[in-house]
């Protein structure tokens, strides 16, 4: 009997997925575990593998978005009849979705595993030991592929993921001299590589400015006193400052749509968050209308949920601009890779005391260097410089944002 191929739930919060393309044609012989089609979810594009082997009898959903659990194809014996199934109305082929994963060039990339065999009800088959190790190390089982009997995720699969990730890498023992650890490229890794390579193909340029953070820090100290619960950070001040600057330079608050540039009505600022599962960019919506305390509160909530793996699709969508801050690692300045289709991404370094000249005198000031990476298809150098100068001025004199 022909087996339905069901659109799997590949992670928590996933309601639907967009089929990008089929890797097999009708009539093709498919082995169990062979990639069948490419699926775009809110987080990533990945190849979905066949749960069973057979001949791809019929593709029900050639492309487009369908809900989780929808039959998308039939696998079976050659010449087998396919039951009539009401094909789910597929939405129009998805536009290249805004990629919420911003990856900066310097950020160490973690290696993702392929998604596990997930049953139609979304339950992940994993051994108790695998579950315990994953729980202890904060690894999302949905991101792993099971190599045990019937695709069960076993301890070794989790161990492999843990070794591949940066937290484990930091604690890993010394590698024997000459030993090469070969980590196979996973589907997600390939996707990240493809997307970032595509982003790299965009004509990007960078401009760099440093801001004197004396007043921004003073403002932050005042805010901290007034909002002890929200505990605003300098990054929150920067987020607010960028939002106001974006509203004044709407050509930077833009998405490149291939045949048009879409100026966005609101500054939805994505914040790059490093989690054990990897870099993720939750979005704070409408920052221009929020106070710094509100931004701090939204940011804290998003970061917590990002680290707990509890972000919803909505948390990752709608970004118009991205801030990536590696200052806490002591990075002085760095260049971020574009987060298409956004026009620009701001890479922020550490605030550090530097000798600067003021009225002919050398003085020590808390300085912060910002590098704006821009998509030249969307904005020009002068536009970018105008915007970055505004950000710098706002940081140096926050009153100007009024």
């Amino acid at each position: 009997m022909a087996e339905q191929v069901i659109l799997p739930r590949l992670g928590q919060g996933m309601e639907s997925g967009t089929i990008i393309r089929w890797l097999k044609s009708e009539g093709d012989e498919v082995a169990k575990g062979e990639p069948l089609y490419e699926l775009d979810t809110d987080k990533v594009t990945q190849e979905v593998e066949a749960d069973v082997g057979g001949v791809l009898l019929r593709i029900l959903v050639p492309e487009g978005e369908v809900p989780v659990g929808t039959p998308v194809a039939f696998l079976g014996e050659p010449g087998e009849d396919v039951p009539e199934v009401e094909t789910a109305p597929a939405a129009a082929p998805a536009e290249p979705a805004p990629e919420p994963v911003a990856v900066s060039a310097e950020q160490p990339q973690r290696v993702e595993e392929r998604p596990s065999d997930v049953s139609a009800d979304g339950r992940i088959k994993a051994s108790p030991l695998a579950r315990r190790i994953a729980r202890e190390r904060g690894i999302d089982l949905a991101s792993l592929s099971g190599t045990g009997p019937e695709g069960r995720i076993v301890a070794e699969d989790v161990e492999r993921a843990a070794v591949a990730g940066p937290p484990a890498a930091r604690t890993a023992g010394p590698v024997r001299a000459g030993a090469v650890e070969r980590v196979e490229l996973t589907s997600l890794r390939r996707t990240v590589a493809r997307r970032m390579t595509e982003a790299w193909a965009a004509p990007a340029f960078q401009i760099v400015m440093s801001a004197d953070m004396t007043r921004a820090q003073a403002l932050r100290a005042q805010l901290l006193e007034r909002h002890p619960d929200e505990r605003p950070t300098v990054t929150d001040v920067l987020t607010k400052v960028c939002a106001v600057a974006l509203m004044r330079h709407r050509e930077v608050n833009a998405l490149y749509a291939g045949d048009a540039i879409e100026l966005q009505p609101s500054a939805n600022v994505g914040i790059a968050v490093a989690t054990e599962r990897g870099l993720i960019v939750p979005v704070i919506q409408g920052c221009e209308g929020l106070t710094v305390a509100q931004i701090a509160s939204a940011r804290a909530d998003l970061v917590t949920r990002a680290r707990d793996g509890k972000l919803q699709t909505a948390d990752l969508e709608g970004g118009t601009f991205t801030i990536s801050n590696l200052g806490m690692y002591g990075v002085e300045q760095f260049v971020a890779v574009l987060n298409p289709p956004q026009a620009a991404i701001l890479a922020v370094g550490a605030i550090e005391e530097r000798a600067v000249a003021r009225a002919g005198e050398l003085v020590a000031r808390p300085m912060m260097t910002m590098t704006l990476t821009c998509d030249h298809r969307t904005i020009d150098g002068a536009t970018a410089a105008d915007f970055l100068r505004t950000v710098k001025e706002f940081l140096e004199e926050p009153g100007l944002t009024l």
């Binding site: 575990g33 051994s127 108790p128 315990r132 019937e150 301890a155």
Partner: protein, 327 residues
């Protein structure tokens, strides 16, 4: 170091206890002149005389009942039930009398009785003489249950059973009687409730009893050729059970196979499986596999008997399932 067969080791433990202690005596069908149908008590009549090596009528209920009476009067009797299949005829005495008196008398009475019996397939004894029924007795509070698998174990455990103040049902396996092992000059008692790790390993623990200990050791040697490291543990005492050793082993290897000759359904392995899954749940990387006889009376025909009871290759298959990879 003397080498003893399993049969000689049983005899050695009985003889030493009888030399050391006048309260110890043995009773059973044909155990005196004939030396027992398995030859275990050969020569003992000559040494200890007919008062202490007593033939009985063919009545298992009477044998155990007499043993209980003597035990309650302060003796340490060791009675023999020729085949464990025949314990059915002594069930009332074992389950409702021997197991209950200490409890019902509030500790005023004790029943330090040892019921030796043997059984098992492998030599075509037929459906009524080949069963493995140890699980029945593990289910009864008030009994201790021992199943020894090697000469040194059978000797040390029988000694401890004789000197335990509770009734011990002591299982021997028919096919193990010729098995040889070097044993110490002095008899070293083995405490009841202490498992033996026969072989250390890293990848999977096989918890086996009786004949299956040896099948498991063969399977382990075979698995090693595939790079699978197998730990083999024999609980030796089924009640009380050395849960600590079993659980520790599985926590180390993360996988478990339980193996005995008795049928799988409702077997002692079910109890072990429950203990392991409960105490080592978060350490398990594969479902616990059970190995045992197929759910049928043991056939008489050797080829069919061989098919029904488990062997090393069945244990090996189970080991491979626990470490299996779908590719």
């Amino acid at each position: 170091m003397p080498e003893l067969t399993y049969r000689e080791a049983v005899r050695d433990a009985l003889s030493r206890a009888m030399r050391a202690d006048d309260d110890v005596f043995i009773m059973g069908e044909d155990i005196a002149e004939m030396g027992g149908s398995m030859g275990v008590t050969q020569g003992m009549l000559a040494e200890f005389g007919p008062d202490r090596v007593r033939n009985t009528p063919i009545s298992e209920m009477a044998i155990v009942g007499a043993g209980i009476g003597a035990a309650m009067q302060g003796m340490r009797p060791v009675v023999e039930i020729m085949y464990e299949d025949f314990t059915t005829l002594a069930m009332e005495q074992i389950v409702n009398q021997a197991a209950k008196h200490r409890y019902m008398s509030g500790g005023q009475l004790r029943v330090p009785l040892t019921v030796r019996t043997q059984g098992g397939a492998g030599w075509s004894p037929g459906a009524q003489h080949a069963q493995q029924v140890e699980a029945w007795f593990v289910h009864v509070p008030g009994l201790k249950v021992v199943f020894a698998s090697t000469p040194s174990d059978v000797r040390g455990l029988l000694w401890s059973s004789i000197y335990d103040d509770n009734t011990v049902i002591f299982f021997e396996h028919r096919t193990l009687y010729p098995l040889k092992e070097d044993v110490s000059e002095e008899l070293e008692p083995i405490p009841l409730g202490q498992a033996r790790v026969h072989r250390e390993g890293e990848d999977v623990t096989v918890i086996a009893t009786g004949r299956l200990v040896h099948e498991a050791l063969s399977a382990a040697a075979e698995a090693e050729k595939d790079g699978v490291s197998v730990e083999v543990v024999d609980p030796r005492t089924l009640q009380p059970l050395d849960e600590e050793t079993l659980v520790a082993s599985v926590k180390k290897t993360n996988r478990c196979v339980v193996a005995h000759e008795a049928v799988v359904r409702g077997g002692f392995g079910a109890e072990v499986t429950a203990v392991i899954q409960h105490q080592a749940f978060d350490w398990l990387d594969a479902p616990i596999e059970r190995v045992g006889s197929k759910f049928t009376p043991i056939p008489f025909a050797p080829v069919m008997e061989n098919f029904v009871v488990p062997h090393a290759d069945d244990v090996l298959d189970a080991i491979r399932r626990t470490v299996g990879r779908s590719g």
